[in-house]
């Protein structure tokens, strides 16, 4: 018996990502052309992204409620598909410069993307586990892709050990939740007694496991090391894709399991406050640009957790719930665009072997390479949250959600953190424009594909900063979070 066509269409993006990944590995011995492989990978990412439009117009469950393809999962499919597309586009010249094999790299990016897609549409904890592992295992390999580099090996090892450690917690949490409710289907858990100790323990362990994946303090220790050691295009992927997918799963568990909603509120409060401070204070003392951006991504996970806290506080108020969810989705998109752009600039300014990553290497960039400096400044200003950029509105929506839920203290902490963050973002901009170049630093021309990535991300950052209504209207559509 074959599954109905609709079910297959609902997992089409994953099928396309995986299919093209396998195709790339099969063709690799025959296709010697680097550009050909990049083209094939781009086709895979692009077609997969297009295929995720179907669930948007025809929402529903597939394969006996293992998968739930709705507007929510469609949004995340579009997001991770776009991220994969841009990462592949930006990494083609990088791979050539570092003399790395392209086929497996692209295939792993596509497999990881498929895993994130599964994670975003999982309606059953088993599916979520499979999706999480698909994206994690590919990421472990990608982190150590520059095999000769000692740092890359170390980064892969740390990511692998801590990632599997977190997965074990996640699984133990699922086991306990299964014991408490007798099911691993999210939709059937609503009847569970929220006071049960087993259920609470299970949810706490799931939160720990996913906390590792989104780099929330105190589970963030791996983040700076892994981000620094991994090849920079891969760092761009890590900071945008898996994080968004893990947040998607958290939101889905939240909106379908009432017990999680109440129990997690204080956990999110503490996580959010701690994560913001650890990220921002850590970034202050960094001299390596990649590490600084890694700490900044921890800080941004903290801001997103503030919105989670607001969602948790709504307790059945649908209007505020959708507003909170819309804030999270908007922020994730704005953040992904900016981080992708920033890491792409960093990866190409790093030069062969990624040697030029120090803050001082960026001195005089404004005169040396005005376009790159302008683009990087735009991303930094968006991370900082300056008006006209998407980052500003992202922060604004989260503030609004927090205030509406009476989370005044958390909003105050977030404001303090934004000010701390301003210091290190502005410091880099000042170094780029106010200081003279160091001797011996050459101009590094940017290939066309990199320029295209910068154009797309910069355009998106400004466009969503000026015209957010379409996106917000789309994401705050009632019933966007289904399964209730």
């Amino acid at each position: 018996m074959s599954p109905p066509v609709e079910d297959i269409l609902r997992v089409m993006p994953e099928l396309i990502f995986c299919g093209f990944g396998v195709l790339l590995m099969l063709l690799q011995p025959f296709l010697r052309e680097r550009n050909g492989m990049a083209f094939l990978a781009l086709c895979g990412a692009g077609l997969g992204t297009l295929a995720s439009i179907f669930p948007l117009v025809n929402a529903g469950s597939a394969f006996g409620e293992l998968i739930r393809a709705d507007g929510f999962s469609g949004f995340f499919h579009l997001l991770v598909g776009l991220v994969a597309f841009l990462v592949i586009l930006a990494s083609a010249p990088y791979l050539e410069r570092e003399r790395l094999a392209p086929a497996e790299f692209y295939a792993l990016v596509l497999f990881a993307t498929a895993g994130m897609g599964v994670l975003a549409s999982a309606q059953e904890l088993l599916t979520a586990f499979i999706g999480l592992e698909m994206s994690s295992i590919s990421s472990y390999v990608l982190a150590g892709y520059r095999r000769e580099s000692l740092k890359a090996g170390e980064s892969a090892m740390k990511y692998f050990l801590l990632g599997s450690f977190a997965t074990a917690f996640f699984l133990y949490g699922i086991a306990l939740v299964y014991g408490a409710t007798g099911t691993t289907r999210l939709s059937q858990m609503s009847a569970a007694d929220p006071g049960g100790i087993l259920l609470r323990l299970g949810l706490a362990l799931i939160l720990i496991g996913l906390g590792f994946k989104v780099a929330a303090a105190p589970f963030q220790v791996w983040t700076p090391d892994v981000y620094e050691g991994a090849p920079t295009p891969v760092t761009a992927l890590f900071s945008a894709g898996p994080k968004a997918a893990a947040f998607a799963l958290l939101l889905r568990i939240f909106s379908t399991v009432p017990a999680a909603n109440e129990f997690w509120f204080w956990a999110f409060w503490i996580l959010a406050a701690l994560t913001m401070f650890v990220g921002n204070l850590g970034a202050l003392v960094q001299t390596n640009v990649k590490r600084m951006l890694a700490y900044s991504s921890i800080a941004h996970a903290g801001y997103i957790l503030v919105a989670f806290c607001a969602v948790a506080f709504t307790r059945g108020d649908d209007e505020r719930l959708t507003a909170g969810v819309a804030a999270v989705l908007y922020y994730l998109l704005a953040y992904a665009l900016v981080k992708l752009g920033a890491f792409t600039v960093v990866s190409h300014l790093g030069g062969a072997g990624e040697k030029r990553l120090d803050l001082n290497d960026y001195a005089g960039l404004g005169q040396r390479q005005p376009v790159a400096a302008a683009a990087l400044s735009l991303y930094l200003l968006s991370l900082l949250g300056l008006p006209v950029t998407a980052g500003f509105l992202g922060k604004f929506y989260i503030f609004k959600a927090a205030i509406h839920s009476n989370l005044i203290w958390l909003a105050v902490l977030m404001a303090i953190n934004s000010v701390i963050g301003a210091y290190y973002y502005l410091r880099l901009i000042v170094i780029m424009y106010m200081r003279d170049s160091q001797p011996g630093v050459d101009r590094i021309p940017f290939p066309a594909s990199v320029n295209l990535v910068l154009m797309i991300t910069a355009f998106g950052t400004i466009y969503f900063g000026l015209f957010p209504n379409f996106l917000i209207g789309f994401t705050s559509h009632p019933g966007f979070i289904l399964g209730r």
Binding site: V141, M157, L171, Y178, E228
Partner: protein, 100 residues
Amino acid sequence: MVPTHYYLILSAILFGLGVVAFVFKRNVITIFMSIELMLNAVNLAFVAFSQAFGKLDGQVFVLFVIVVAAAEAAVGLGIIILIARNRQSLNVERVNLLKL
């Protein structure tokens, strides 16, 4: 028949041992083994619950966990070999180029 909570206590002890070994051991292979111990503690819990409920879905979950753990082991051992070749050592304290 052995009561379910006996299995659960054993599973919790195994999981705890895995966590302790992960934190305190210094050899990469041993750390890796402690993760496997944790995963098997999870499997035990699943099978125990599955038996208590008289349903099969917990056991199906275990099959998936075993398969995924094998895939993870393949990648993990590859990474460990990479570390061993590059550094001639399996002690995690010597793998310290990246610092806070």
